[in-house]
Symmetry: C2
Subunit: 223 residues, 2 copies
């Protein structure tokens, strides 16, 4: 019951309307008055505040890199990490099913609740309050983030390379799917018609196999 005051201390914000914080911590499995709408709002506040922080911090970084840095900061695992440092799991209201399956540890539930808290702070205290809370929560991540180590996935890299050369996009085709449903192996062929080049990737999902095929294509191109 005293989880709320502790949480407010951790985020350095005290709610005028504590029922908003309460709602932000309520998962849909617990009540119809849950945090889903607050999460919608909070997600957009958070995206904006992080965008602005990156914009200021990296005055020469192109738009595409800013986007990628932001995506890295607001992805589920990053949010869940911050939620864990706040011990958000202890303060969540979950329905019985979620309690049984240890929902308070689930990254998606933690990430959603954190976004909902940001939305609740915005509604309770306005934009500057939300900005202060977000920059506090992200202080460390914003300090250590390095635009030079943006890890683009292979498919994006390949696509950007081809676009820069005004070449048509690669074609990915599933060549085969083998194995039982729970242990399938996908084989994907990546074709670059213009370059008359074909590579083949194998993986546990179509996505993984495509990435593998794209990676091999990039290596072939650069060799």
């Amino acid at each position: 019951m005293n989880a709320l005051p502790v949480l407010q201390t951790r985020i350095s914000y005290t709610f005028t309307q504590p029922q908003l914080l309460q709602q932000a911590l309520t998962h849909r499995s617990f009540s119809a008055a849950n945090n889903e709408r607050l999460e919608f709002l909070g997600d957009s506040v958070l995206n904006f505040i992080i965008a602005h922080q990156l914009f200021k911090r990296f005055p020469d970084l192109p738009e595409g890199d800013l986007s990628r840095l932001r995506a890295k900061l607001v992805k589920e695992s990053s949010l869940a990490e911050i939620a864990s440092t706040l011990h958000l799991g202890d303060a969540l209201k979950l329905g019985e099913g979620e309690l049984k399956s240890a929902g308070w540890r689930r990254p998606s539930i933690l990430a959603d609740a954190l976004e909902a808290i940001v939305g609740a702070v915005y509604l309770d205290g306005g934009f500057f309050a939300a900005e202060q809370v977000v920059t506090l929560l992200y202080a460390e991540k914003l300090t250590i983030i390095d635009p030079k180590v943006i890890d683009k996935d292979a498919k994006s890299q390949l696509q950007e390379y081809l676009q820069s050369k005004k070449m048509e996009l690669p074609e990915y085709e599933v060549v085969s799917i083998e194995g039982e449903a729970h242990a399938q192996s996908f084989t994907v062929r990546c074709t670059l018609h213009k370059l008359k080049m074909t590579t083949t990737g194998v993986g546990t999902s179509r996505r993984v196999a495509e990435q593998q095929a794209a990676k091999l294509a990039m290596e072939k191109i650069q060799s």
Copy 2:
């Protein structure tokens, strides 16, 4: 040269730093000091302000519907429409190639510039200034928007249908890209492996062609 004062009157905001507005109107084809970073920032400001407006206006609407309404309001064609009412095309700075191909009429260029203006207002006048400009620009759209007539796009419809039948998601492939850079025609194939069904869409962008292919697939399924 007097396009700027007129534009500022139309958006009911006067810049303290007019060079920010100037930059927001500068396409990458014109100069390295273009509007791409401002667009990144403006996109996130806009998304947030519209999210908040919808949140307030529809206190009982579930998160998913709020998301769809927002997507409708901030999609390229909506932005380009608002940009046209502002005669934004007349104020744009475009490189020669874009001038020749009537880039000032291109929806993507107009939409990007409008987002950049929102970003510029935010940097120049702060959050409340941006909020006022956005709510003014969206006054009509926000008044007439009706959550009951959320038209899901064809790809979403197809995906939801397939998920409801526990079928795997469709695969979209670009089959060909034809024409010059400013007037390309994309052909996309949509494959539903389980249903052994293939449809083909054609459009001015990959997105449009995909939507077209998805629409045809839905029609085939329902026929």
